[in-house]
Each structure stands twice: as structure tokens, then as C-alpha cells.
């Protein structure tokens, strides 16, 4: 008797509690920045594309929905000449973001990916590339990489000494 009265009380109390259910889409949820929704490609602090087309995200993707191919820009940077994600396949696991050595690929809190046509869920690079750095501020792969590009010669990356002078006589 006490048992079920107690239960009734506990249930009854819920009547006055604040509801968890939200009236989406009238009321938009506030998701933390780390929640995993629509994927974007971000840019370096200098505004250039961050992605170097290393294909690590494509390799780690458990559903293999990322497809890209490497090209080399005039200044020597590697970049993807196409970058495609099929959001109809993506399971928003975030492994690509984890794998990305340049912080280019990031998941955003936007989960609203409803489309009438499924092929509209295949996003190309111009759909993915955003203007800013996203969640990771300040990181620029090319400042730490040993590969030279225009404007960053050998020896000019972080933690690098000037190139060895092979003709020098000092040991």
C-alpha cells in the first residue's frame, strides 16, 4: 500500500515538472558545439583551404561515404580537387574529425539534413567548405609541416633550423 502510494506520488510529481520534450521545429534545440551533425570543411587562419587531401578521413570512415582526390595548387599546397560526402550514408560518428591531421573536417551541431531527394544529400566541396576556422582556432598545418610551399621555405616551419649548407666545411 505504501509502495504504490509512493509510486503514485512520484509519478504525480512529474505533472508539475518542466517537460523535456521540445516542440521542434517551433522551438529549436540548443546543442553544444561538440555535438556531431552536418560536416563542414574549414579554413586556415590565413583563409586558405585547410584540407590537404590526405584521405585519412575517407579511410577511417566506417561507411566509406567520403570521396576525394588530391591536387597540387600553384603555391605547392595539396588540396582536394573534389571532396564529396554522402550524408545519406554518413552516421555522424565523428571519426573523420578525429582522424583529420589538419582540423579541416569538423562536425557541426546542425542536424537538419532532411531532403526530399536523396541525391541532394550528396554534398560536394562547395557545399562543405565554410569561410572560417570552425571549432579549432589558430591551427595551420603548413606552419608545422616540413614540405615547403610558397611563402614558407625550408627551415621556416615551426621548430625548424635553417637548411643545411652542404658545401660548408664545418662539421
Amino acid at each position: 500500500m505504501i509502495g504504490w502510494l509512493g509510486a503514485l506520488l512520484r509519478v504525480g510529481r512529474k505533472l508539475a515538472a518542466k517537460t523535456e520534450t521540445q516542440l521542434y521545429p517551433e522551438e529549436m534545440p540548443k546543442l553544444p558545439p561538440r555535438s556531431r551533425g552536418r560536416i563542414v570543411l574549414t579554413r586556415d587562419p590565413d583563409g586558405k583551404e585547410r584540407c590537404v587531401a590526405c584521405s585519412l578521413c575517407a579511410a577511417v570512415c566506417p561507411v566509406a561515404c567520403i570521396d576525394l582526390s588530391k591536387a597540387v595548387a600553384e603555391d605547392g599546397r595539396w588540396y582536394p580537387d573534389h571532396f564529396r560526402i554522402n550524408f545519406a550514408r554518413c552516421i555522424f560518428c565523428g571519426l573523420c574529425e578525429d582522424a583529420c591531421p589538419t582540423s579541416a573536417i569538423q562536425l557541426t551541431p546542425d542536424f537538419e539534413l532532411g531532403e526530399w531527394r536523396r541525391d541532394a544529400l550528396v554534398y560536394e566541396k562547395h557545399d562543405l567548405l565554410i569561410a572560417g576556422e570552425g571549432k579549432v582556432r589558430g591551427y595551420r598545418y603548413w606552419s608545422v609541416a616540413g614540405k615547403a610551399i610558397a611563402g614558407k621555405d625550408k627551415g621556416e616551419a615551426d621548430h625548424e633550423s635553417p637548411p643545411v649548407d652542404l658545401k660548408g666545411l664545418l662539421p
Binding site: V52, C54, S55, L56, A58, A59, C61, V63, A64, C65, I66, D67, L68, S69, K70, V72, W78, R84, I85, N86, A88, R89, P101, T102, R118, D119, L121, V122, Y141, V144, A145, G146, K147, A148, K154, G155, A157, H159, E160, S161, P162, P163, V164, L166, P171
Partner: protein, 876 residues
């Protein structure tokens, strides 16, 4: 002598004196290493292969040694897993990585990088070094090889390969200690025709394949297919990598008896002809693009009017056979000159008759005295030249062995061997890149080479000839060959001289059954075509002229390369219609009434027969394209047969031709399935499979179908060491992603693959008696003997269509000895006429040439053909 040693508690058999690392690796016991290489031996540069070795049962302390520098000894106990050794290895890799750039994402090597593998294997994953990194500037090493020196770990593999193994001079180590630099003295094209191997030899991303980098895909994004190099008669085994239906690169596929670990650059970059803009992509009628329907209808009509078939030494045996079936054996011709047909038949007869055994490349390396008659191996069969460079070092190894230096201690062998060279005699007409390893180089014209060979044979039988160009040497050479344990004679069709082949046969006969012989055919399937039968182009023209046929079907052949122009023009004049089937646009497809596109070697399966008579199968590396079917499929549609797959066609060949039964066993047939399914070309995982919308289908549910091979394009299937050797698509093993893991696939280091080296020898020495040689046609005495100059970087029309090789190929040459030029009143740079016809290049002079010859680039300036004399005069 063999003994049992204990490695981590496991008892293994090993030969006393072998190096411990090789033994570990061949038993699949992973010891991290960098500087050791199966073909280059040990040098002890990287200090990565540390293990603990206990001298015997009483030794409880043991000591840390480098496995690659330690000989196997009786009763040895080895602890690879020893904590101190493991810690030692982890520290070594940490040192190696202190200067390593943060490059993996933009490094071509990543994903199949030995350094990545070893770093992960040793457990070094946190960088503690906080100081600055040493950096280097890169060099431009030409169109084939990239250079990114920061990634170097100073294993010295590159220079050991380039200099010690391949005889190159222009790559070296500079600087000292931390600064050591591997490159050229200054920027410039790497000269060696084997430079491309650096991409595979270097365990890091310093050297890579420049062509691949320009059309890049990660290793894990490419499907790989076993293939055969279509660029010369050696028949090196390739892996062809594909992504998105496009071939991205060719790599070495290990073959114990042939190419081993290395290819030549023609074989590595030449296969990129399949992506050249020179491809014939659509059917042509009268040189104008036409619909498939119209073109095949026109071809049907032309063939119905009575046709002859002209085969090709660069087409598969199957396509040639299909054509032979279509037109009948009397109307099938070989697509080379009559003279070359005769020469090749004779070469095969000599090989078959014995007594000399046919030498594989591995056996060439094992020879202890070599005579090369007339062949410029570096340019005609490049990989064989690389083998001969190893032969040259046999004497050195022998002396070193007497002093107790094991053969794998390569540096020490160099020193202990006191520079001794095995006897190698080159008798050629033009300066030869192998001159630096030859103990004697003779510069003779083709007739003198033959006479010299005959004299050597006679001297071996005790008859001394007189009045010869190289009289003084004949007796010595005969003695050297006669006293050798494993003498080897190399000759071939390069100079088009039947007499040279006969001389080689005579020497081999005089030497008896311990002799080995290698006769170099001109192209990848020259031997296969000769086995099928059929006379040459001149005979084809004669048959057309007699009015017995109206149409000539030309299979994958630019005839103007392979036979004198006059003969080919006769053929065009006599044929009412020429139907050309080819993968490339050539002069033939442009002039043919009907041209039909067919698959290139990377798009269809087929068989090539190499210089040894080894039938080897290649498979389609890209999904079949119905607009460019295999040539034999087109020919089957003309009514040659009802073959639904390559196996059905092979069944017919084998039923009809008992001498060709071997082709059926060259590789498993399309029905071959392992417990894991068909062998797959795809790596695991193949990324991007579901990136496109496919209306709800899982992309891999229907991988492209290929009825002609036991391989699948899908991701599900068998991989690994149990795969039959002819079907190996990858050396990937758990934790090992680079080609270095090939050690797992060979029976022993450098030996045959597990399950035997792929391919089937169609004939062997000693099968028949040699009929006497037919009298050769006289070539007169007027004019200069024509020496066709081959070139490692150009080869025939296929390899020249590769943009990468074209960037490396020298300009066509025409050379005279200065004295001959003076006699003719010609100076360097003069425009000349060959037999009254202008030629596309200017005269250069070379005092290294034999007298009385004119050396001319073959294929580009002159077509190949029989040995002949030409007149050279100034163009007015």
C-alpha cells in the same frame, strides 16, 4: 650447413652463416629494420634491428646485437621480444624521428610507408624532442622521381641500390653525421634507367614516383592487379594500381626467377601509355570518328570479302590466336618482317634443341663467365642488364667468401673482394652502358661479331681461326668459358643478324649442358607470336597482291615500326580495305579504312611469352569498358569463335596446339575461388565506396564484373600469403603496409615465391635436334652496316606514348665513327640521307663506335628489320 636455432622459444632451421634478420623475416618473425634489403644485403646503418642473442645453452646474459649483422651459429638462442632489446629499438626510432618532418598527410608514401610501420611497431608515438629539426633543400631529379630530403633516415638503401647494385654514378651521399644528404652533386635528371626503383627501395617518402604523385591516390584507395610488363621480352611482373577506372602507377611485383625486387624505368613508367591522349577512343571510318555500329558493320563486310590477318608481338597470345582462327593459318601473318620471323623461329629452335639451358634472370646472376654477342642489354632488355651487373660481382663475392666474409655483408664484400670482376665479355657495335662492368669490351660490326663468335666456338673445339678482328682474344675467351662452371651466352635479335644467333648456338653447343643461354627477342610477346606461326609482312603483301584476299586485318601493330617501309606500303597498296584494331592511334589506324578501339594491356586479360618461353598471364586492372573490348572479343564477333571468356579461348588453343598447353596453367582460371572468395584487387577498406548516391544500393553489391580473371573488383575476397603466386595483388600484412612485406611471400629471402614463381615454361632445352641453319641472304658489301640503337627510355610505340617516358627519352640519334664520317666527307650536325631518303635527325660522331657501321635510333628513325647495309650521304 643447416642448424636449429631458437628464436623467442621457437625452434627454426637456418643455414649457418646466413644473417639472423633474414632468417627471422623468412619465418615471419617481425624484427623492425630499415637498412637491410633482400637484394642489397646488410650494412648496419640504422641500428633498428637490435635483438638479444645468447651464444649457447650456458649463456644466461646474452648481448644486444644487430640481427642483420649477425651470422647464424650453431645452438644460437635469440630473444626478439627481450625488453632491453625492445627498448633499444624504441629509442633508435625515437632518434631517427627527431628530425622527421610533420609531413605524413602530404607525403606520397603515407599508407604504405615502412617508416610509419616500424614506428608503430616499436611503439614510439609521443615526441619528446623539443629542439629544432635539421632541414634540407630538395633537388629536381627530373621527370620521374620526387625528392623530399627532410624525410630521410639515412639508411643508405638508395645509394647502395643506385651505385652498388645498378651501377649509377650520379646519386651519392653528401655531408656527415646528422647532415648527411642523399642526392646529386647538383640538380638534374637521374641518369640511371633504374632510378625509378628508388621509389620502392627508399623506406620513406624521400624518393617517390613523380607520375603517381601527379595523379595521386593513396595506396588504400587503389585496386592493384597482377600484370606483365608489355615493354620488352624479359616479361617482368608488375602490379598495376587503379583508382576511378584510371591506371595511376605500375610497381614491381616480385618474381624470384625474373625481376626480383626491381624493374627498369621503361617498365615502371611505360605502362602509363594506357592513359595517354594517343589512345584510340572511338571507331574510325576513313580516319573520321564513326559509330560503333557503322564501323563494325563495315568491318564485317570487309572481312566477308576475304581477309588476311596480321598479328602483333605486342598483342596477347590469345588475340593473335583468335585472329589466326578467323582467317586460317595460311592467311595469318606475324606483323614483323619476314626476316624477323625467320630469326625468331631459329632462336626458338636453338633454345629447344639445347644442350644449353635457357637462363632466367636469377640464373644469369648465378653465371660465372658471360659472353654477350651483339646485344646492348641496358637498352634492349634493361632488367637483364641489371642482372648482369650482379653477375659481375660473383668473383668478388667468391674471394670475400674465401676470406670468411659472408655474401650478405655487401660493403665488406666490396672491400674483401678487392674489386675482382667475373669475366664478362661484350662484343657489340656501339658503346655499351655495361662497359664499366665488362672485363673485355669489343667494338665490332655485326658480321665481325658473328665471325668472332664462330671463332670462339671453334677455339673451344681446338681449331684456331686466323685473320679476325679480335683474334688475340679468341683463345683467352674460349678458355675462360670452357673452364667456367656456369658459362652463359647472351645474344638476340637486336641487330637482326642471323649469323650472331648461329654463333651463339655454336658456342653453347661446344660448351655442352653446363652452358646457359639467353636469346633476347624484340618484344613482350615476340616468342608467343613466333610459336603461333605465320610469315612476315612481305609475305602478307604478296598474298594480297596475288588477289587471294581483299582485306588486311592489322592487330595492335604499327607496322611501320616493325618492318621496312616499302613492305608496309606494298601491303597498303594491295589491300582493298585495311581494318586496324588498336588501343593507340598510330599511322596504321590513321590510314586504315576502318579502325576499331580495343583494350590496352591493363584493360584485358591475356598471356605473353617472354624470352625464356615463359607464358605469363596479365589481368585487367580497370573494369572492362565495352567500348574498348579485348581484341580477341572483337575478332570473335567477326566469327572466329564462340568464346564467352578468356578461359574458353584458352581451352580452344590448348586443344588445338599441344605445344601451347602450358598457357592454361600460367595462372588459375576464372573459376578459381578460395575459401575467402575470389582473390580481390581491392585493399581493405576501399574508401569512398558509398560517396555517390546509388538509389539505395550498397555500392559493393555489384562490383564490376570481369569474366576473364579469377580476381574480383569487389572488396570482399581473399588476400594474403595463401593467394596463388600468379594472383598476388598486395603484400599487405597486419602491421606491414609497404612492399617490404614481400619477405612473407617468398620461400626464402631472394628465392622463389611460396607456391613457385608464376608462369609456365612452354619449352625447355633439350627437346629436339637442331636442324642445320638455312643459308642467310647475302647483304652485299657496299655501304655501312646498320646498327639499330635501342633506348631504355623509349622502346616501341607503346612506351613512347607514355608522357613520363617521353619526357625522359633522348632525341633520335644517327651516329658514325669520326673516321667513317671523314671518309664520307660528313661532319657532326650534318643532315644526311639514308639510302637516299632524308631522316629526321642530324649526324653525331662517336669514336666509341665500331668502324664501318652507322648507328641509328630504331623505331623513331628507322624501322627494325634484318641486318642490312645502307648508304649514308650528305643531304644537299
Amino acid at each position: 650447413m643447416s642448424t636449429t636455432i631458437t628464436i623467442d622459444g621457437r625452434q627454426v632451421e637456418a643455414r649457418i652463416g646466413d644473417d639472423l634478420l633474414s632468417v627471422c623475416l623468412s619465418y615471419g618473425i617481425d624484427v623492425p629494420y630499415f637498412c637491410w634489403h633482400g637484394a642489397l644485403g646488410s650494412t648496419g646503418a640504422c641500428r633498428q634491428c637490435a635483438v638479444r642473442v645468447y651464444a649457447g645453452p650456458d649463456d644466461t646474459k646474452g648481448r644486444i646485437v644487430m640481427a642483420c649483422m649477425t651470422s647464424i651459429a650453431e645452438g644460437q638462442r635469440v630473444a626478439v621480444a627481450d625488453p632491453e632489446a625492445a627498448n633499444f629499438r624504441a629509442r633508435v626510432i625515437e632518434w631517427l624521428m627527431t628530425n622527421h618532418p610533420h609531413d605524413c598527410p602530404t607525403c606520397e608514401e603515407a599508407g604504405s610507408c615502412h617508416l610509419q610501420d616500424m614506428t608503430i611497431a616499436t611503439g614510439h608515438h609521443v615526441r619528446r624532442y623539443r629542439f629544432t629539426k635539421r632541414t634540407h633543400r630538395n633537388q629536381d631529379l627530373g621527370p620521374l622521381v620526387t625528392h623530399e630530403m627532410n624525410r630521410c633516415i639515412a639508411c643508405y638503401r638508395c645509394t647502395r641500390f643506385y651505385r652498388d647494385y645498378a651501377g649509377g654514378r650520379d646519386l651519392d651521399a653528401f655531408g656527415a653525421h646528422n647532415n648527411v644528404y642523399f642526392g646529386r652533386a647538383e640538380d638534374g635528371v637521374l641518369e640511371s634507367p633504374f632510378a625509378g626503383n628508388l621509389a620502392e627501395v627508399c623506406p620513406t617518402g624521400v624518393f617517390n614516383d613523380k607520375g603517381w604523385s601527379a595523379d595521386y591516390a593513396r595506396k588504400w584507395d587503389m585496386r592493384a592487379t597482377p600484370s606483365i610488363c608489355p615493354h620488352c621480352a624479359v616479361g617482368c611482373n608488375l602490379l598495376v594500381d587503379e583508382r576511378d577506372g584510371r591506371v595511376r602507377r605500375a610497381q614491381n611485383r616480385y618474381h624470384g626467377a625474373l625481376n626480383g625486387y626491381f624493374l627498369c624505368d621503361r617498365g615502371r613508367y611505360g605502362p602509363l601509355h594506357v592513359v595517354s591522349p594517343q589512345r584510340l577512343a572511338v571507331p574510325l571510318l576513313g580516319g573520321v570518328a564513326a559509330s560503333e555500329h557503322d564501323a563494325t558493320a563495315a568491318a564485317h563486310a570487309a572481312i566477308a570479302a576475304g581477309a588476311i590477318g596480321i598479328g602483333s608481338p605486342r598483342a596477347s597470345l590469345e588475340s593473335n590466336y583468335a585472329l589466326q582462327r578467323l582467317v586460317g593459318p595460311e592467311r595469318f601473318f606475324a606483323g614483323v618482317s619476314d626476316a624477323e620471323v625467320k630469326l625468331l623461329r631459329r632462336m626458338i629452335a636453338i633454345l629447344r634443341a639445347g644442350p644449353a639451358k635457357i637462363a632466367s634472370l636469377a640464373e644469369i646472376e648465378a653465371a660465372d663467365a658471360v659472353l654477350v654477342l651483339g646485344e646492348d642489354l641496358t637498352n634492349a632488355a634493361p632488367r637483364m642488364a641489371l642482372a648482369l651487373r650482379q653477375t659481375a660481382r660473383a668473383a668478388e663475392r667468391e674471394l670475400a667468401a674465401q676470406k670468411g666474409v659472408p655474401h650478405w655483408l655487401d660493403q665488406a664484400v666490396h672491400t674483401a673482394g678487392e674489386g675482382r670482376r667475373s669475366p664478362i665479355v661484350l662484343a657489340t657495335s656501339a658503346p655499351d652502358p655495361l662497359d664499366d662492368i665488362a672485363t673485355l669490351s669489343l667494338r665490332l660490326d655485326a658480321e665481325a661479331i658473328a665471325a668472332f663468335g664462330v671463332a670462339v666456338a671453334a677455339a673451344m673445339r681446338g681449331n684456331v681461326a686466323e685473320g679476325l678482328a679480335a683474334e688475340g682474344q679468341v683463345k683467352d675467351i674460349a678458355d675462360v668459358l670452357a673452364s667456367a662452371k656456369c658459362p652463359l651466352i647472351i645474344a638476340g635479335a637486336s641487330l637482326g643478324a642471323a649469323a650472331i644467333i648461329e654463333a651463339a648456338a655454336a658456342i653453347a653447343a661446344a660448351l655442352g649442358s653446363r652452358a646457359r643461354i639467353a636469346l633476347i627477342a624484340p618484344e613482350a610477346n615476340s616468342v608467343g607470336l613466333a610459336l603461333l606461326g605465320g610469315d612476315g609482312i612481305e609475305s602478307a603483301a604478296a598474298l594480297l597482291e596475288s588477289g587471294q584476299a581483299m582485306t588486311a586485318i592489322v592487330l595492335e601493330n604499327d607496322l611501320f615500326e616493325r618492318a621496312p617501309r616499302a613492305g608496309v606500303e606494298r601491303l597498303f597498296a594491295a589491300a582493298k580495305t585495311v581494318v586496324a584494331l588498336d588501343a593507340l592511334n598510330t599511322e596504321i589506324t590513321a590510314r586504315a579504312a576502318i579502325a576499331l578501339p580495343v583494350a590496352a594491356f591493363s584493360e584485358a586479360a591475356g598471356t605473353f611469352v617472354n624470352y625464356e618461353g615463359r607464358a605469363q598471364r596479365f589481368f585487367a586492372a580497370v573494369p572492362p569498358n565495352p567500348a574498348m573490348p579485348s581484341a580477341w572479343r572483337r575478332i570473335a564477333a567477326f566469327g572466329a569463335g564462340d568464346w564467352h571468356s578468356l578461359d574458353a579461348l584458352i581451352e580452344d588453343i590448348v586443344a588445338e596446339r599441344r605445344d601451347l598447353v602450358g598457357i592454361a596453367t600460367a595462372a588459375p582460371n576464372a573459376g578459381f575461388v578460395m575459401s575467402g572468395g575470389k582473390v580481390t584487387r581491392a585493399p581493405r577498406p576501399l574508401s569512398g565506396r558509398t560517396a555517390d548516391d546509388r538509389a539505395g544500393q550498397f555500392a559493393d553489391a555489384a562490383p564490376p564484373q570481369d569474366p576473364d580473371s579469377p580476381l574480383t573488383f569487389g572488396i570482399k575476397g581473399s588476400r594474403g600469403t595463401q593467394v596463388p603466386p600468379a594472383l598476388i595483388t598486395s603484400y599487405k600484412m597486419p602491421g606491414l603496409h609497404s612492399a617490404n612485406a614481400v619477405t612473407r611471400f617468398a620461400q626464402e629471402i631472394g628465392g622463389p615465391l611460396r607456391g613457385g614463381d608464376p608462369g609456365t615454361l612452354l619449352f625447355e632445352a633439350g627437346e629436339g635436334a637442331l636442324p642445320p641453319a638455312a643459308a642467310s641472304d647475302p647483304i652485299g658489301v657496299d655501304g655501312l652496316l646498320l646498327v639499330p640503337l635501342h633506348d631504355a627510355f623509349s622502346g616501341w610505340e607503346l612506351s613512347r606514348a607514355s608522357a613520363l617516358l617521353a619526357a625522359r627519352a633522348p632525341a633520335p640519334r644517327l651516329m658514325l665513327h669520326p673516321d667513317d664520317a671523314a671518309t664520307l666527307g660528313l661532319a657532326a650536325g650534318a643532315a644526311v640521307l639514308i639510302d637516299g631518303r632524308p631522316c629526321g635527325t642530324r649526324l653525331s660522331l662517336d669514336a666509341g663506335l665500331a668502324r664501318g657501321v652507322v648507328a641509328v635510333s630504331v623505331g623513331t628513325v628507322v624501322p627494325r628489320g634484318a641486318l642490312r647495309r645502307v648508304t649514308i650521304e650528305a643531304a644537299s
